[in-house]
């Protein structure tokens, strides 16, 4: 592993983390640390300059990762991380803007920002730590809680269907879409690295486990029970293509669902600025973009 040439001496995963903030708040058996580790390994593999990485998060257990990562970052309000990140990317398109979010944060309160960010294809990378539940507030069902699962707000079982977040992202126009799981951390790091390399909007769903508030209510009280659940139900997208809907019942697919090159928003924005005749120090009347 090559250390980034920023004089920071970052050579291992821990050197990217604010270990002085530990112990972290995640429960024993939680998968968020695995997902965070995969993100850091992806950043290391791509040798991203830590001075050009910005981490933006919303609210929830996953969002706390922003505080543990030793990058510039903003810990924002519930559901709005993508909106804040869009502002950062517009002002400084050369930065690597990473959004860390959870399933409640992204798909419920932040759903509107998510679908429009996918449509806009702005070059930010969104990693959704999907643990199927609102963990921070102790186990209310989220838009990703499986049908019939138990939650504190569904003590006799959940009667809504969850989103397929990757299908939603692709349907809304996201140009890089992948799903991994905490059980497969190396592949997850691959998917995140793919997203970071990608020029447009990249969405990576990381299926992770919440033994405390999801598992205990659903007969999987230990982290390892939920990891086994991931292992048994994850189907690579290539194999899924050869399976019938009946065979896929109760499974979830992992892999890269979409990796397409399309017009990236900040490049388009620059084109419009040029079209409007803005020149540095010129007389177009356009306000100077902040870059």
């Amino acid at each position: 592993m090559v250390a980034p040439e920023d004089g920071s001496g970052r050579t291992d995963v821990l050197s990217y983390l604010r270990v002085d903030r530990f112990p972290h708040l995640w429960c024993p058996g939680c998968g968020h640390g695995i997902v965070l580790g995969a993100l850091v390994r992806a950043i290391m593999r791509l040798e991203l300059d830590p001075r050009r990485v910005v981490v933006v998060s919303g609210i929830g257990c996953a969002a706390r990762a922003a505080g543990y990562l030793n990058f510039d970052g903003v810990h924002t309000t519930h559901g709005r991380a993508i909106a804040f990140a869009s502002g950062i990317k517009l002002a400084r398109p050369e930065l690597e803007v990473i959004v860390i979010t959870g399933d409640g944060d992204l798909a419920a309160i932040g759903g509107n920002h998510f679908v429009h960010a996918c449509r806009r294809n702005m070059g930010i990378t969104v990693v959704c730590f999907n643990n199927s539940i609102y963990g921070m507030t102790s186990g209310q069902y989220s838009p990703m809680t499986p049908y019939h699962a138990m939650a504190t707000t569904a003590p006799y079982g959940h009667i809504e269907r969850p989103f397929d977040l990757c299908a939603l992202a692709a349907g809304c126009g996201a140009t890089y879409v992948a799903r991994g799981a905490a059980y497969f951390p190396a592949r997850l790091a691959d998917y995140i690295a793919g997203g970071l390399r990608h020029k447009g909007f990249a969405f990576i769903e990381a299926v992770t486990q919440c033994p405390t508030y999801f598992g205990r209510r659903n007969k999987m009280p230990r982290g390892v029970d939920l990891l086994r659940w991931q292992k048994e139900r994850a189907v690579p997208v290539e194999r899924a293509a050869r399976m019938t809907p009946e065979e896929l019942e109760g499974k979830f697919t992992v892999g890269v669902f979409r990796d397409a090159e399309e017009l990236e928003y900040t490049e388009e924005y620059d084109r419009i600025i040029a079209l409007a005749g803005y020149r540095e120090g010129g007389e177009s009347g356009c306000p100077a973009p902040g870059r």
């Binding site: 924002t76 559901g79 609102y134 102790s138 209310q140 707000t153 006799y156």
Partner: protein
């Protein structure tokens, strides 16, 4: 409560009822969830946020267990929660939600729609600091920010009062003279998560007390169709706002009426405020929320030392009881208004500004026929200083409040504010103007 009760009288029967009533240990959130269950609103919509969360969680269990018939909707944000209860209330339902901090902030737009549409929604607000930076602990910035949104605000000192306030709030909100939404505020964690042994009513008593909500007009009445909240420009908007102001003024009459009815039922009486050992006090603090209990303890301690200390606990912040405030404080020499919120006006917190405004112009210098000075503050209104405290859950203990009283007594003894007036736990005053002192209690400078 009378001490000399004859057996067989109605009063004695009332006392027997009370004795039969359940005393039970509940957290503030459990108590409020219980009150909501007993009120049994038609619709509850909610979204989780610390420290409100377990109200909704308990309520979800009541729904799932069939203990209430309420339609319970878990929505995807607080904006949606408030919107859903607005819709329900406009349709003639009794509707409730609950929130905290940023959840309340996200409801902002819809708070005004609830009050402007005159919808009697009741909402527990579990007070918590606002981001940024993120903090989940108690302060009053959330509800104080909403003080001008047209909602009645009841504040609670403990879980018992939070429980009692929720039940009374329903009647206040739905009174035809008022028809305004009501927030029941209580301190996050300090009240919401602490156990208190409290007295609860029976389900029947609560149902009888709140009665049935029968709106004069609502949606879903096809023979009398109405549109709620349509365009209302310079022709009528102003009149509608004036009507809102009149409704808020009417609440000033209705709140004590409801409190009196509640006292008859429970023996617990609540006013717009509680004046504690104020009658002969020279110095007093004005507090709302859980710190009132600490302040009461300090007042007793100072009284034992022979110092004339008092407490004014504010229960109703909207409508603001300016007249009662002037009555209660006008005769004092020095008052510290405690704000668990900084309005960032750089001229004192929201409660301070309201209280001092209520005391303005009280000095009746014109003597009556016998030569005695008139007015409620014959020696001029008291000196009023502001103490901002407890932001983001910073603890406030008896010694802190004693330091506030020390400051007041030093001022009464004629000590002029000087550089060292920030000694001890009190910060140096920001001194926004020559006659205004704003201290921060227990802050690092």
């Amino acid at each position: 409560m009378g001490e000399d009760v004859r057996p067989g009288t109605a009063e004695a029967a009332g006392r027997d009822d009370r004795a039969r009533r359940r005393r039970t240990a509940l957290t503030g959130n459990e108590a409020v969830a219980l009150a909501m269950r007993q009120v049994e609103p038609d619709v509850v919509a909610a979204y989780p946020i610390t420290p409100q969360t377990d109200i909704v969680q308990f309520f979800a269990s009541f729904v799932a267990d069939g203990r209430v018939k309420t339609e319970f909707v878990t929505v995807e944000s607080e904006h949606s929660a408030m919107s859903a209860v607005v819709g329900a209330s406009a349709a003639g339902a009794r509707a409730m939600t609950a929130t905290s901090a940023n959840g309340l902030a996200l409801m902002w737009e819809v708070l005004y729609i609830a009050s402007g549409s005159r919808l009697p929604i009741v909402m527990p607000v579990v007070n918590r600091a606002l981001s940024a930076p993120i903090n989940i602990h108690c302060d009053h910035s959330d509800a104080m920010g909403a003080r001008d949104s047209g909602w009645v605000q009841l504040w609670s000192e403990d879980a018992q009062e939070a429980y009692d306030n929720v039940i009374q709030a329903v009647r206040i909100a739905e009174d035809p003279r008022v028809l305004l939404p009501v927030m029941v505020c209580y301190d996050g964690f300090i009240i919401s998560h602490a156990l208190l042994n409290l007295e609860v009513l029976t389900d029947d008593e609560v149902k009888e007390f709140v009665g049935t909500y029968r709106p004069d007009r609502s949606l879903l009445d096809p023979d009398r169709p109405v549109t709620v909240g349509p365009l209302d420009l310079y022709d009528f908007y102003f009149e509608h706002k004036r009507q809102q102001a009149e409704a808020m003024a009417a609440a000033r009459e209705v709140i004590p009426e409801v409190a009196a009815a509640y006292a008859a039922l429970t023996g617990r009486s609540y006013g717009m405020m509680e004046a504690y050992r104020l009658a002969d006090a020279e110095a007093a603090v004005v507090v709302l929320g859980s710190a009132a209990g600490t302040a009461r303890f300090v007042v007793d301690r100072l009284r034992r030392e022979g110092r004339k200390a008092g407490l004014l606990k504010l229960r109703v912040f909207r409508p603001f009881p300016a007249s009662e405030m002037a009555e209660a404080l006008g005769g004092l020499r020095a008052v510290a208004v405690m704000d668990r919120c900084d309005g960032f006006s750089a001229a004192g917190g929201p409660v301070f500004n309201e209280v001092r405004s209520a005391l303005y112009g009280l000095d009746g210098v014109r003597p009556d026929a016998a030569g005695r000075p008139q007015g409620r503050a014959p020696n001029g209104p008291p000196l009023v200083v502001n103490v901002v405290y407890g932001l983001g859950g910073r603890d406030v203990d008896p010694e802190d409040i004693e330091a506030v009283f020390d400051l007041l007594f030093r001022r009464i003894e004629g000590e002029e504010p000087r550089g060292e007036d920030g000694a001890g736990v009190l910060s140096r005053s920001l001194r926004p103007s020559p006659n205004t002192e704003v201290h921060y209690l227990g802050v690092r400078e």
